[in-house]
Symmetry: C2
Subunit: 350 residues, 2 copies
């Protein structure tokens, strides 16, 4: 494609309108982010669960692997409160799984989440080409501070009114996250339907509602999805699930095998692993917590981390957060550069 | 566009790959079906709630208005059983609404649904260009009988395995209904996630899984949606909600006004009106039945009909089944021919 005709690509200095959605936790990888950027797309690091020190290391590693633009994503801090009864019930159930894996009983961690101020300062200092945020409102001052350092800022919207709100704060772009997307929903202004608007309906409505470029996410796993979101008016396509199968992505083999189960394996929405709605492949953990009154995000996320790490090593997919979008069955294992090339083949020169 | 390059259009003898999704109940209209077909698309009559005698009348009216191909849709019969306690609770709640509108107390109707055999024989005799069915498995014999009369048969799928099953029965096409679609879900093989797969994820997977043409439905309300589903591999695009605002569509003004509320009004999934999952604009009726144990489809549908008819006349949208898809805010009032033309503008010659 002719990148100069795509304003988003031209402004970022990237060749292809293909974005690596920010994969976090065990899926976060400097090698994958760099490989996507080196292939002409835009790699984005999911740094929400990293300490600032770890962020520094990973950002340095990315820069050692590429001199191309890349991005960093963080979760905006959420209000949450402790509820002793819910936490006790959650830990009791977790204890059963710990015992099954021969692990010590669950411990309450020193903290449930990283310090956002320190994470944000790390990004500000690193000045990546793009910063994206999820779960809410970064605030005008932080957006302006990033922009003054040369970092473009994109906010994540799952509903038109969220996109309008983010645009009013001065963001440079909107990631429109359709209901098909894997992992956490970015919904932050409330919704009677959990913000589950499909990509084909959401993207053109967001494009009409804001003046900044729109990056479409949700259900895009091959060239056809990229062609579709171009037709809907998006300036670029973001894909996550398909990159979980990139050779460079360091997920456990149990997770990788679950993703490759084949046609028509279903994804479901769950709050079980983190306390926030997210989409993944159905498994025992999700089913057994389906009716539970869960502690607020991020408490379950912190409490389940040791179990998820042990289950990954033990090959026990029933205890893993198997995040995946609805196009998972279109995803195939390949080097990241090949995935980027396959996706970009769907974009037509205008 | 050059219709001869689109096999679905060529086989049907239509100019444009635009299909009117089968609107039923008060939205069913010979004038609308004929207007879509006269404009070069394919009108489909939603006949599920019509007596065979009424079907004969409406089919004759369509034929008096157009000599172009058109289609008819029916619901395949579902197994259902009576549950006296649930019915009594449902009628008790309905009685409150009847009283508010000054109506007599709800009556148990003579029958809860039309006789499918007679409806089917009416279609067979009429031999429309296309017959489409929803909610399941029409059976090989009926499919073959229609095909022998020159009627093409399309089945409705919301999941890949449903599409594969329908193709194995010998259908001529698959309507792939994404989660964004308004009104009833066609899901018939069960699902942990209610069959809510978004159009952008569903369509390419169905295209890969079957050899017959795929008609994409769900979230398509303007040229951009049509361009998107073409990129996904569909052979035509079906739209429903946008045609509710066609001048020819005989919906109540209360329903029409609700559809035109503007940006970001939300749709939700509900079983409240019929006993089966369907998507519509949130209202009081849906909210007050949200937690209820409902009788099986089609019992609530039959029981709520008098209330819906009275509420339409009285302008009380809170008691109407305000079926709408997630692209409702992209829909604008216009003559049907203009809507067809606007949609078809999104299809590119290959």
């Amino acid at each position: 494609m002719n990148a100069s005709r795509n304003p988003l690509c031209a402004r970022l200095g990237i060749e292809l309108p293909v974005v690596l959605a920010p994969l976090g936790g065990e899926s976060a990888s400097a090698a994958l982010v760099a490989a996507v950027s080196n292939a002409g797309g835009l790699g984005i690091l999911g740094a929400a669960y990293m300490t600032p020190a770890r962020m520094d290391e990973v950002l340095a590693e990315i820069r050692s692997l590429t001199d191309k633009p890349f991005g960093v994503n963080l979760f905006c801090p959420q209000e949450w409160k402790c509820d002793a009864a819910r936490e006790a019930a959650f830990v009791a159930q977790l204890s059963v799984y710990h015992a099954e894996l021969g692990m010590a009983a669950p411990q309450i961690p020193e903290r449930f989440e990283e310090d956002f101020e320190s994470q944000f300062d790390t990004v500000l200092k690193a000045a990546p080409a793009v910063f994206t945020f999820t779960f809410g409102d970064l605030g005008r001052d932080r957006i302006a501070a990033l922009q003054q350092r040369g970092t473009q800022v994109w906010g994540t919207a799952t509903q038109v009114r969220e996109a309008v709100h983010l645009a009013s704060l001065g963001v440079d772009g909107i990631v429109a996250q359709g209901a098909e997307a894997g992992a956490h929903r970015g919904t932050f202004l409330g919704s009677r339907d959990e913000g589950l608007v499909g990509t084909i309906a959401l993207v053109p409505q967001v494009v009409d509602a804001v003046k900044v470029p729109v990056v479409a996410a949700g259900g895009i796993a091959d060239a056809r999805g990229v062609g579709a979101v171009q037709a809907l008016g998006a300036s670029a396509a973001a894909a996550g699930t398909v990159f979980l199968l990139a050779d460079e992505c360091p997920i456990s083999s149990a997770y990788r095998e679950a993703l490759q189960q084949g046609q028509d394996h279903e994804t479901v929405m769950t709050r079980a692993f983190s306390g926030r709605w997210a989409r993944g492949l159905d498994n025992r953990f999700m089913r057994e917590f389906a009716a539970a009154e869960l502690p607020d995000f991020p408490i379950p996320n912190a409490l389940t981390r040791p179990l998820r790490q042990a289950a990954g090593k033990a090959g026990r997919a029933e205890f893993l957060s198997l995040w995946a979008g609805q196009a998972v069955a279109l995803s195939k294992r390949a080097p990241a550069a090949e995935i980027v090339k396959n996706l970009a083949a769907g974009w037509r020169d205008e």
